[in-house]
């Protein structure tokens, strides 16, 4: 067994691929990673610096006769980029043409009835450029994949509040003030005590609304 220290942009799927595992659950569910599971209940959202125990790969020995054909099923879990585009009033932005670009390829599509975009991507893909056309207006997002931090980290909290339209960098306003305002606004909008500081209720509500 070896211990891997998570780097920025890594998730369990990319770590698993790096170490030759086709299913990241094999790593995540290993008894040696109990502490990691407690700290990071979502295996897709790790924090740089987290330690992941990598179990030894166990070669599977199979026997077979020559001149015979055998089928092997790989226990592979695909990795997706899943986005849900919403209007500020939480209604889905459905039926919008979009283009997803990465590795020199363009993947066009239309957002689903729930505003969703689902695209299978390589587990190590660091980013993609999303262009959405809405009423003749094009908007672009550079999606930094694997960079979403846990909600309990101030960076992860900010990322979710930003993606949900609460955190905005206001010119001339210190970053910590912008974050406190975003927390305050989110708490106020969700009937939580508007303290401007994070707590477990905020984390829970935010993860539920953000969906990861």
């Amino acid at each position: 067994m070896t211990t891997h220290t998570v780097l920025p942009g890594e998730c369990l799927a990319s770590i698993a691929e790096r170490y030759g595992f086709t299913n990241p659950r094999v790593i995540y569910d290993h008894p040696a990673n109990e502490a990691l599971r407690r700290a990071r209940p979502d295996p897709n959202v790790l924090l740089a610096g987290d330690e992941v125990v990598i179990p030894d790969l166990k070669p599977r020995v199979v026997t077979g006769a020559t001149e015979q054909r055998y089928h092997f099923v790989v226990d592979r879990q695909p990795t997706y980029l899943r986005l849900r585009l919403l209007n500020p009033d939480d209604t889905p932005r459905s039926g919008l043409p979009y283009r997803l670009e990465y590795q020199g390829q363009v993947y066009p599509g239309t957002t689903g009835a729930d505003g969703s975009i689902v695209q299978e991507v390589p587990s190590w893909l660091p980013g993609a450029l999303l262009t959405v056309t809405d009423g003749g207006r094009e908007e672009q997002y550079r999606v930094a994949l694997g960079y979403l931090d846990p909600v309990t980290d101030s960076g992860g909290l900010k990322q979710r509040l930003q993606n949900l339209g609460y955190y905005v960098e206001v010119p001339g306003v210190p970053e910590d003030v912008c974050l406190r305002h975003a927390i305050h606004a989110y708490q106020h909008a969700n009937d939580l005590p508007p303290t401007g500081y994070p707590d477990t209720r905020l984390y829970g509500k935010l993860v539920k609304e953000y969906c990861s």
């Binding site: 990795t79 980029l81 009033d89 912008c178 508007p194």
Partner: protein, 366 residues
């Protein structure tokens, strides 16, 4: 198309999503509070009212405080203070706009706001009989901050008035500022040169020595000093008799040089300031009569579609209308991000006037 927004997302191997909402627009409003209307001035009045246990005045003075009065109207407002300066942020999800409100209390910051592209500037304070927004430190002290400013860059009037105004002697004496009366050696001003409140008196102008302006010899001496003449000077100035209030009765009013361009306060005057802001609200007394034509016609800062909006007050007013107006801008119930400003401002004007009517107040926003 603007630069792509950078958003962090998780790769998903099972359940879960990354929710992405159209980022809100940031809209900046600068609230400029004038002399005697500073936060410290209002806070003192509020604290005094609390100490006196005066329920009405406690309510009133709190309602004019920024940010407290606005927080009372909008509990979602996030107020903060940095280096003694007060600010607020407010996210309206329905509008998809984050409002950045900055309080400024000096003339340089006010002028800088007027020169800032794409923002709204709201002045809340004295109209100085139409001479223009006026700034000074907290505390009601006599001196030049009521006219050209003791520190002309940061205090005194930002001139945006007609060339001449008629000012009662008690106002000049009470505030104790040096000023320039119109000598009777000059021809009387024309109607077009005069503030609307001076025009009805043009037919009754009289040339008076300073010694003929007040019965009290000590006050004559004071007035002479403020005019830069000796009390026994034979120089005469254009004046008229009128009643401004019951307390002072019929008294001498003096025609003073005012103006909007090439004034002693330049570059802090309208002539030397090309507004880049998108909306300007002059919430002093009767500013529509005093300053509308100066800005719109003489300066030529005309409305262009949904740009260059300007709003005024129709009559003698109190500062209570400003937080009202601000609150209605921030709560306009329609989506506003990247939209024209006309409907947004019109909503605030309409709602503010409804509340002013309901409260029995005698002025309107126009």
């Amino acid at each position: 198309m603007t630069a792509p927004a950078v958003v962090a997302a998780s790769r998903r191997t099972g359940e879960g999503d990354n929710t992405l909402i159209d980022p809100p627009e940031v809209r900046r409003i600068v609230l400029a509070q004038g002399i005697q209307f500073t936060r410290e001035d209002s806070l003192k009045l509020y604290n005094d009212a609390v100490a006196r246990n005066d329920a009405y005045e406690t309510w009133y003075y709190r309602s004019i405080l920024f940010p407290e009065g606005l927080v009372d109207r909008l509990p979602g407002l996030f107020a903060w203070e940095l280096d003694g300066h007060h600010h607020a942020l407010y996210l309206n999800l329905a509008q998809n706009v984050v409002y950045q409100i900055d309080l400024v209390e000096d003339k340089a910051a006010f002028r800088q706001a007027l020169l800032t592209e794409g923002i709204a500037v709201i002045y809340n304070g004295h109209a100085r009989y139409g001479r223009g927004p006026c700034f000074g430190p907290p505390g009601v002290f006599p001196g030049d901050d009521w006219e050209n400013g003791s520190a002309p860059d940061t205090t005194g009037i930002f001139r945006m008035g007609y060339p001449f105004v008629g000012i009662p002697c008690h106002e000049i004496i009470g505030h104790g500022y040096h000023t320039t009366p119109l000598p009777a050696t000059e021809p009387p001003p024309t109607r077009e040169q005069c503030d609307p409140e001076l025009r009805p008196h043009l037919g009754a102008l009289q040339a008076r020595r300073v010694s003929e302006m007040h019965a009290d010899a000590m006050l004559v001496e004071h007035l002479a000093d403020l005019f830069g003449v000796t009390p026994d000077s034979d120089e005469r100035f254009w004046t008229f008799l009128a009643v401004e209030d019951q307390e002072h009765g019929r008294e001498v009013h003096v025609v003073l040089y005012a103006g909007w361009e090439n004034t002693p306060t330049a570059p802090a005057d309208l002539g030397a300031t090309d507004f880049a802001c998108r909306m300007f609200c002059h919430f002093g007394c009767s500013t529509f009569q005093h300053n509308y034509h100066i800005l719109r016609t003489w300066k030529g800062w005309k409305r262009e579609g949904d740009d260059r909006l300007a709003y005024w007050q129709t009559d003698l007013a109190k500062p209570i209308g400003t937080n009202m107006f601000l609150s209605y801008l921030l709560t306009c119930p329609k989506r506003q991000d990247w939209q024209p400003w006309g409907d947004w401002a019109a909503y605030a004007v309409r709602q503010t006037n409804r509340e002013l009517v309901a409260g029995g107040y005698g002025w309107r926003v126009i």
